[in-house]
Symmetry: C2
């Protein structure tokens, strides 16, 4: 336990030890991810179950603590599970009345059962040390098929340990040899050997393994007859479980993306194209779909009818709950049968950062689509304008952050994300319209996947200045380069994805951003980290303070993000 | 509205327009900050009210939406308000059944009233267009003094607008000239002039101003007689409302801080010293106080007795609710009568990042104390080990991030924070023991406030290498410098606070980290942003991947954070 390389780290880690279904640890993440896992079962069932063939009818069981239930994410996820009628979700709350600081009542005297009833859950109370009562409660929970279930089990921490029983000290610290001895005496358990598995226990524990093998064999028989009866569905199931994405998807998606539009609008078009070829592609928004433009057209939403919940759709209404949204998206990704996305405004990545981080830690295939990606969202003001968000997200290990500059880059970023088997990708998209970039001869759209490439070549053998930009600032850089004229002989480089660019070999990186050249960066966000591309002698045009509430044009002018202002700053830099 | 420099930006901004009591906008922040404002009133009352002298008995009123109540932070804050018995907190829920995506029922069919009853709130339902009913409900809410109140007011968005009534389109878009005309017709209102204030309305609106002036005069009379009766309390009130901190506090706090200990332990000692001299200094932890060591000794906790809630204490049990904790701390800071802090593990800054950001945006005097500040927390594993957190927090405009290296730096960071009138400070502290640093002759402890300074001078005129480190890596850098020996002639620089260091003039910065020198950074976290100090040609020793669950010594060895491994890497760098 908790040793280097051990199978039992401090908290369960998905992909590290067999049988772990999601990484948990940060409180509330388990119950919220479980909502996604349970929803995934329902969505698979809606797609593949047929009369007499319950191909996907599995249930999700979980154990949660007072800490999980104090965290806001569990309220968000609990409310969603109730709304979606997830009768296949069954949680037991280990209600031991003890937190690290002492009795839970120090900070937690709410009526948890009533809260979950308010969310539409089926709630039961049991003595958590009464095994027949727990069994009965779980049977009732399973019998309830239209509501998620919470079994509130009153327990005693360090049960049976005479001095540690019901104490907060027992939360994180081992009992110690003496207390273990006293506990064994108290419970009538042999003191030796230290680890004892009584003979009569072995067959009991063998039971679930045997029953599991039988259930699996039965399911495989069912699968065979289902495949025979529904051969076309069998192909779909293969695609779903393989999360099939055509090798050349990007070649078709990128077609016709050479229009002037906001990258969120390009994304809207791309989503439709991907959805047409990738049935396991599903997603939704935290109540911002009319702005994030993430609706999969022609597909119904999940579970919103007035009658019983329905799960055959592809669009998810998460409500105003970014944190639970991210966990549900991760839960769907953890089914390994969906390529899910969640969307919102970029500033609200702050609301779901712990869960985006878990997607990166697990290396799962979640896509994060966040629009309104800079101060140029305008009137909503500084509370809604991302400044440090892009930079902060780039710092998350294992997360790829894309900030596409036009339709071609948006298409390629999306296609990278749905094909990326290594981990999550985040797309930061503009609210405002951007011009389609003109690129040099020889440009291949897959150059975008290199993370950085030249969009404007200089004349002659050496650029007078290399201007590196992302997203909405690439067209600004091009306009400024034109204003600077032949004397400056500017090269402009677009870097839609730092992570991919930094993974290229040194020769490629040097060919795009030569270290010897004068270098400038432009990004309408914190300059934090930009030295990595433009060096500590480079000029970094960005924003290291909060924005203001004003229309787009006023903000561009007020903050110096016009071609004229940028050209002037670069002239000053080159002259210095 | 929403114009450059206007008094009415897209969302209310504290400090920008008179009468705004907190910046809101990101959903759920308003109601959560209001809990802190209401608690502040109770705490002031407990300190200064005396029989017949209700010096502080003000109430906090707020209006919230479905979005606020869907966000997890409102459940966290609602549960805390219930626990603390905040009878002076009164919210009206504008229950208009409309979100941006459509009917709230798409994602929100829970019983909100029942949820808040579960939290211990007093809940009423009214027709939100029936003014006498609202008045009656607010009177009942005010009459209820031991529980916070929620008035659920069923309303209709765009009430009276014939085509926009009850539609999601009315959420963010203006009605337009034609619909405004139809609405006026429908409501029997004159079409002209566009902005009409009927004569009979003026005296009604003048009423509150007159009543406010009267109430103020009455209170000032009360204050005068209270001061006469309790002269010693009058001095305390002056200190409280002025948030008095002695000018030379740091000189006393830093005394005796030259011991080997974890910086969280140093912080524990410092907290006691500050608390002794600064009565408005209060704080608490999100159920991690036995680990963050943030208890103010000798002072009771707030509101935990079995009987009625009590507010005279200085310690807050926030439960496992980092997000609401941060909002309550901000609410206390917004009273401008407290210097509050919140604490937890550094990884959990991710759980309260939106609210830490609001403290920076408002420029208020919250202190954030986060311990277990690196992978060296050990066994809890990667879900609990910060990697990118320090770097990400440095990117937040207006937030000062301190990572002290020993007792002296911890004392000085704390003293800076309680004296800093410009905005919030965050202290990142170690779980593990660190040695007290030996510093060169001429060192003044206030040099720590410069954010970066030399802790080991080289010989002669020029260092062979400058090693820049923070926190636990400063002593590691010193040990590595010793191993490198006279040939390397290393200077070691401690940078406890990037923000303060970068605000120093160029001459000072250059004197500490000369640009011409070979430079190395060491920090047990993401290297993202470190080029700002050591340049793009510097060697950055850090961690750009997740950690592992293991004991401290194994992690130090496994990740190459031993003096030998560091010296070896620096040797390689210098040789290259």
């Amino acid at each position: 336990f908790r040793q280097w390389g051990s199978k039992t780290p401090g908290h369960p880690e998905w992909g590290h030890t067999a049988g772990i279904e999601t990484t948990t640890g940060p409180l509330g993440q388990g119950i919220a991810h479980a909502v996604g896992l349970a929803l995934g079962a329902k969505m698979l069932g809606a797609r593949f179950n047929r009369p007499g063939f319950e191909m996907f009818d599995y249930r999700v069981f979980g154990l949660c603590s007072d800490g999980d239930l104090m965290e806001g994410i569990s309220s968000e996820a609990g409310s969603l599970a109730g709304r979606w009628g997830l009768g296949n979700l069954n949680f037991v709350y280990d209600d031991n009345h003890i937190t690290i600081e002492g009795d839970t009542a120090l900070a937690f005297n709410e009526d948890v059962g009533k809260r979950f009833e308010a969310f539409g859950w089926h709630v039961q109370h049991v003595d958590g040390h009464d095994r027949p009562a727990i069994r009965k409660a779980l049977q009732a929970a399973v019998a309830e098929t239209t509501r998620p279930s919470l079994v509130i089990a009153r327990t005693h921490i360090a049960f049976g340990a005479p001095n540690a029983h019901d104490t907060s000290e027992a939360h994180g610290a081992p009992l110690g040899a003496e207390e273990v001895k006293l506990t064994k005496q108290n419970l009538g358990w042999p003191e030796e050997p230290t680890f004892l598995v009584p003979e009569e226990v072995r067959p009991v524990f063998a039971g679930p393994g045997r029953r599991g093998a039988e259930a699996r064999a039965k399911w495989e028989n069912l699968l065979a007859s289902w495949k025979a009866k529904y051969p076309e569905l069998a192909d779909s199931l293969g695609d779903q479980l393989g999360r099939f994405v055509p090798e050349d998807l990007d070649r078709r998606v990128v077609e016709g993306m050479d229009k002037d539009a906001a990258t969120r609008q390009h994304s809207q078009a791309v989503i439709q194209k991907i959805a047409a070829e990738v049935p396991c592609f599903v997603g939704g928004s935290a109540d911002l779909e009319p702005s994030t433009l993430t609706w999969i057209k022609g597909a119904p939403p999940i579970g919103i009818d007035d009658g019983p919940a329905r799960y055959e759709g592809r669009n998810l209404h998460f409500g105003i709950r970014e944190h639970a949204m991210a966990a549900v998206v991760n839960g769907l990704a953890l089914t390994e049968a969906f390529l899910p996305f969640g969307s919102g405004f970029l500033i609200f990545t702050d609301y779901c950062r712990p869960t985006i981080r878990l997607s990166a830690l697990m290396g799962i295939r979640s896509t994060w689509v966040f629009t309104h990606d800079s101060v140029f969202l305008g009137e909503d003001g500084p509370t809604h304008q991302p400044i440090e968000q892009i930079s902060s997200l780039r710092a998350v290990p294992g997360l790829r952050v894309w900030r596409p500059a036009d339709g071609v880059e948006t298409a390629m970023a999306w296609c990278w994300s749905v094909r990326d088997a290594k981990g999550p990708n985040l797309l930061a998209l503009t609210r405002q319209k951007l011009p389609a970039l003109k690129r040099p001869a020889g440009f291949d759209t897959r150059d975008v996947w290199r993370g950085g490439y030249i969009v404007r070549k200089e004349s002659g053998v050496r650029p007078g200045v290399v201007i590196v930009a992302t997203g909405s600032e690439v067209s600004l850089a091009l306009a400024a380069a034109d204003l600077l004229g032949p004397a400056a002989n500017a090269r402009v480089v677009s870097v839609p994805c730092f992570e991919n660019f930094l993974e290229q070999d040194a020769a490629y990186r040097e060919s795009v951003i030569p270290k010897g050249a004068r270098r400038v960066s432009i990004e309408a966000g914190a300059t934090w980290g930009w030295e990595r591309l433009v060096g500590d002698q480079g000029l970094m045009i960005g924003l290291d303070r909060f924005g203001a509430s004003a229309p787009l044009a006023d903000i561009q002018k007020g903050l110096g993000f016009t071609p004229e202002a940028v050209a002037e700053r670069i002239r000053g830099f080159l002259g210095a």
